[in-house]
């Protein structure tokens, strides 16, 4: 059997130590690193590219799900979590396994067996869709963007509008803007439709950032934001935003 590299990501030292304890009997698994927060985990995943990650979900700085979103990692993940709404969802998707704390050595072993089987399959078959599906299904609290080795956390409440630019989206907040590789529709699905309105094929605007609407011709409207920015509104977009403003 070939050697597996494994990364432990958990904010609690005792939890990491327990994982090490459970891994003792595996001669063929190589623990390449330990991280106690999401930011370090992003770095470690990018530099070490481990075969398997034991990933806690609720962590300081970045959540486990955000770590996956930022690194684009879609395979070889075993979630370890105490209790949260993602756990059962992850269970339905069999590409990833989940361990509910506290877990036994036996349960841990099963998880490793399952992960191994999936890793071997992966070499020949198409990449898994389950982790992207899980991420797409999760309501966001903030948007995290990685830009030249730096991670930006953008609170939703500070966003003015988001603009589609080819394969990227451009997020505008507090006079700054940043590019992220994601489709506008995928992001729209993760945002609260009561707060963020798709006013144009290429624009999503935060409702409370809108100061007024300006009619520029018979069919064309502009949303004027408190920041001073002006964003075009399509006819379909006008129908959508009308419900909230009028």
């Amino acid at each position: 059997m070939n050697q597996l590299s494994l990364l432990i990501v958990d904010d609690e030292a005792l939890a990491r130590r327990l994982s090490r304890e459970y891994l003792k009997k595996y001669d063929d698994i190589n623990i390449v690193g330990e991280c106690d927060n999401g930011l370090d985990a992003v770095e470690a995943i990018n530099t070490l590219n481990p075969d398997l990650i034991l990933l806690d979900i609720l962590m300081p700085k970045l959540t486990g799900l955000e770590v996956l979103a930022l690194t684009g990692r879609t395979h070889g993940v075993i979630f370890t979590t105490a209790y949260d709404q993602y756990a059962l969802k992850a269970f339905d998707l069999h590409a990833v396994d989940y361990l509910l704390k506290p877990f036994s050595q036996q349960r841990f072993d099963e998880s490793i067996v399952r992960a191994r089987r999936l890793l071997n399959k992966e070499l020949s078959i198409k990449p898994h869709q389950e982790i992207p599906a899980l991420l797409a299904d999760t309501q966001l609290e903030r948007i995290v963007v990685r830009d030249r080795g730096q991670v930006h956390m953008i609170p939703l409440a500070e966003i003015d509008y988001i603009e589609a630019q080819d394969d990227y989206i451009c997020i505008h907040w507090q006079g700054k803007s940043i590019l992220k590789t994601q489709s506008l529709s995928a992001l729209e699905a993760q945002l609260d439709a009561q707060v963020f309105i798709r006013i144009h094929r290429s624009y999503i605007v935060r409702l409370s950032a809108v100061k007024s609407m300006e009619r520029i011709s018979k069919d064309a409207q502009l949303a004027v934001l408190f920041s001073g920015a002006k964003v075009p509104i399509s006819r379909a977009g006008y129908e959508r935003i009308k419900m909230f403003i009028l």
């Binding site: 609690e12 304890e21 300081p60 209790y83 949260d84 509910l100 609290e141």
Partner: protein, 361 residues
């Protein structure tokens, strides 16, 4: 529900008083030589019994004008109209009954109804009806008071249930399961620490359950709960977590609502210390001033996660709002909760009046 017709005892008393008034009326008629004793009784008792039904209808007249919308002109109009109308009906009935008795052959029982007697009967009708209106008003007011009392009792039970629910939900499942996981880890390499943590966890939950059933506890008890909580969190977070308590001894005996501090300590860890790689110190101070207990809790924060925490759904909002609502419920406007956020620390200030919490009877 009609306050007289639906109560047998009241109905009986009502019938008795009608008979008494009937007797008085008969006595009057005899005294004035308008009728013989037998004739007067045959006349007076039935008409009063019948009028009794009209008198009980005053209940619906009273109900049609609830106390809250009563104004003098309207009351005069409605009550006066009802009184005049009933009295007229009553007079008509007296005349009808008298002629009926006479015409079916009991001429000896005839009562001499002159115009003066008719006016007198009309006045009696008015007086009786007004008395009935007043009596029904009293009964309705009495009913309202009892209904309000029942409702107040029900609301208090509800509020108490809500409070208990709140306390139960504050036992954070993350905390429980992560602690169990830590114990599971400790068993292999530090059995003593595992045992110590199990005991702390047991004490913490026992204490939580015990105090959550009481309305107020001593500050000392709340602090003890916080100590248990911190002891467990210290095992989980190690060196990162430091707590400094500066408690004025005089404040220890002050009565406070249960579990008002522990969630704040939990917040300070979750939203403060937790995100700091190098850890930090939670400071808790209590002093007595101006007949109020003042408590301040402050913790350092990581600037980057700060904004996210304030805006996010698992942010500080709900915990503080809960405490604010509970204080409002217990102390009215006398207690206060405020917080300040700077770039490097978060500080919550509480003040609780020394007088006992609002009585809930």
């Amino acid at each position: 529900m009609h306050p007289i017709l639906s109560h047998l005892r009241r109905l009986f008393l009502f019938q008795c008083s009608l008979a008494l008034v009937g007797g008085l009326l008969a006595w009057f008629l005899v005294e004035m030589h308008f009728a013989s004793w037998a004739g007067a009784l045959i006349f007076a008792l039935p008409v009063l019994q019948l009028y009794g039904f009209m008198l009980t209808s005053a209940y619906y007249v009273c109900r049609s004008l609830p106390f809250s919308i009563r104004k003098a002109p309207k009351v005069l109009w409605v009550f006066g109209g009802a009184t005049l109308f009933s009295s007229l009906v009553w007079l008509g009935f007296c005349l009808l009954w008298n002629s009926l008795i006479t015409n079916v052959g009991f001429a000896w029982a005839n009562v001499l109804l002159s115009n003066q007697v008719a006016i007198f009967l009309f006045c009696i009708g008015c007086v009786l009806y007004v008395m009935s209106l007043l009596a029904h008003d009293v009964l309705i007011a009495f009913e309202n008071i009892r209904a309000a009392e029942r409702q107040q009792a029900a609301t208090q039970v509800l509020a108490r249930d809500a409070e208990l629910q709140l306390l139960r939900s504050q036992i954070n499942p993350h905390f429980l399961f992560n602690s169990l996981n830590s114990i599971s880890a400790l068993t292999t390499f530090d059995a003593d620490a595992a045992r110590a943590m199990t005991i702390e966890l047991g004490d913490f939950f026992r204490k939580t359950l015990a105090i959550s059933e009481r309305k107020t506890i001593r500050l000392a008890e709340e602090l003890e709960l916080c100590e248990h909580f911190l002891a467990i969190e210290k095992i989980r977070f190690g060196e990162k977590l430091i707590a400094q308590f500066e408690i004025e001894p005089a404040t220890l005996g002050v009565q406070v609502p249960p579990m008002f501090l522990q969630p704040l300590i939990e917040n300070a860890i979750k939203h403060g210390i937790y995100d700091l790689s190098q850890g930090g110190t939670i400071q808790l101070k209590s002093i007595m001033c101006d007949a109020h207990l003042h408590i301040a809790i402050s913790n350092p924060i990581d600037q980057r996660s700060l904004i996210a925490a304030v805006n996010s759904t698992r942010g500080t909002g709900t915990g503080l709002k809960n405490i604010k609502a509970r204080f409002e419920n217990l102390y009215g406007g006398k207690a206060s909760v405020s917080w300040q956020l700077s770039n490097i620390f978060f500080r919550v200030e509480l003040s609780i009046p020394l007088v006992s919490a609002r009585q809930t009877e």
